[in-house]
Amino acid sequence: MSSVSITIIILGLIATAIFVAGFYRGLRQSITERDNVASQEAGYDASDRWPSVIFAVVASAAIITLIGFYPAAIYFGPFLVVLTAAANGVAFFLDKGTSAR
């Protein structure tokens, strides 16, 4: 097994741990807030977030383009897809719910 594979597997385990921790938090929060009427009226996000959207689109295009020039860029996808799981886990912790309001 290559060092890249070992790295991705370790990162995958870490990402899974973050995800599971976040998932558990999110599930508890959802059950806690089941009867909280305030969570239905949690305010509105006024931003269309265009700068972030453009960045995400350009970044994805750039990564695919780079693959054609650098063999190592082939591993960007596997690395980032593991990061997706971790980021989803982090999203649970960034959810303020209604308790902070």
Partner: protein, 508 residues
Amino acid sequence: MDKSTLALTPGLTQFQGFALLIGLGLVSLVIAFIVRQYLVRNTHDFIISGRKVGFGFGVGSVIAVWTWAMAVLMSSAMTYQWGLSGLFWFVVPNGLAVMAVIPFARILRKSMPHGYTISEFINYRFNKSQVASTIVTLTMIFGIVLEILINLKGTSIVISSVFGINWALAAVVGIAAVLAYSYFGGLWTSVITATINTLMITVPAGIIVVLIYDKVPGGAAAVLDAVGKANPANLSVLRPDAAAGFGITLAFGLLAATIADQTFWQKVWSIRSSEVSRTFLWAGALFYPIPIALGMIGLVGIAYGIAPADIGGDIAAIGPYVVSHIGLPVAIVLVYVLVILAACYSTIDGASAALSSVVAIDIVKRYAPSISERRLFIITKISTLLGGVVALAIVLSGADFTTLVLTTYALKTAVLLPLSLAIIWPRTNTIGFVGGIVLAIVFGMTIRAYYGELIGTLSILAISGLTVLIAALVFPQRFDSKVLLQARDLSNQPEGRAVPHAAHQAAE
């Protein structure tokens, strides 16, 4: 790299295939029972999760719902067929389509805070126009059935090709597994199981791809070298034939697939209002790595010189073929199948939940506004099963579902601009909306039949959009978005009592 060195991984059995199909369903069923006990008490919870889906579940569920089984397969297939240009045109519009929902979602979530479906919005937006709301309702239903159909078909193909299970039996077992757990918890079950499926898609996908490259002599450098030798254009993202061949058409199709899809609008109205924009941004951005990673399997297919004939003529099979023939252990092949099943199940249960909201709000409540909450809840739960049953019947009949694909494509593409304008432009009127859709279908689809997909798609968009604009100039009127505030939550009514529909409330 010699394709003659590729051989099917020994040790794959039909029992493993059934175990994956049923096992994933059983785990989800346990989750559904827990969800039902703690989170679902009435129709409002069942179809819109009480509007309390948080950021984490929102991100995870949108990613999983957007990751179709065919998307897992097609990211490898498009790369295999067109090189990096194929991956570029498949990936870039895919994530953008999710993020493109943000401005529309932001407007509707604020102006119609108690909405459930996009057809319901159209009903209020165009003064209870039966024609307008029926067109959109039908578009949503066709789209949902097609989502289930395509994922069911894709899954049965993968299961039958990897494990040798009869494809029809695989379809029956697969749909039964999904519908069993979808029935019990509605959208909450869909959201929670889909979020788990996001984990099951992402981490295994990353590991499988690097393990595949470990099996290739020379690794990534050798693959890229062989891909370039096969055709130097494979390493460019600027192949014009890829853009014209499928890229531009796919881009518009994907936009229509999110903006004109109740599966996404149900999410918009179920996610906590303060988290909607952020959720779709994160989901779109975090979706990107999935097809990018899986696309790398397509490069291995090119490098080995695998011909379409070697994989049965269907390029969608390139991913499963490489994974099951490159020498990976049985366990890794099973994990890959689980990735596809997770993508399939999450999309089907999301579509089933969306169908339940359409049936409850746009059919039952509209035509039987005095129905009791108890009866509505029962009908809503049963409706969760309808899409799956219809899709299964079509798959088992062996019928060519090209007609359904074309009809859905025509409706969704024709609806895209009029619907977008209805949300953001107050001067959009009923004549323009209905006329735009009808004319786009009649003339746009005719043009498409004669001049191909690219010109046809652009024609449909141009006809539908221009009709809305011209109608707005000829019949000037301005919509007051305060009308949308008339929509009410079902849960505002006590359980067991007759619930007047919001439309009737407005009329009172």
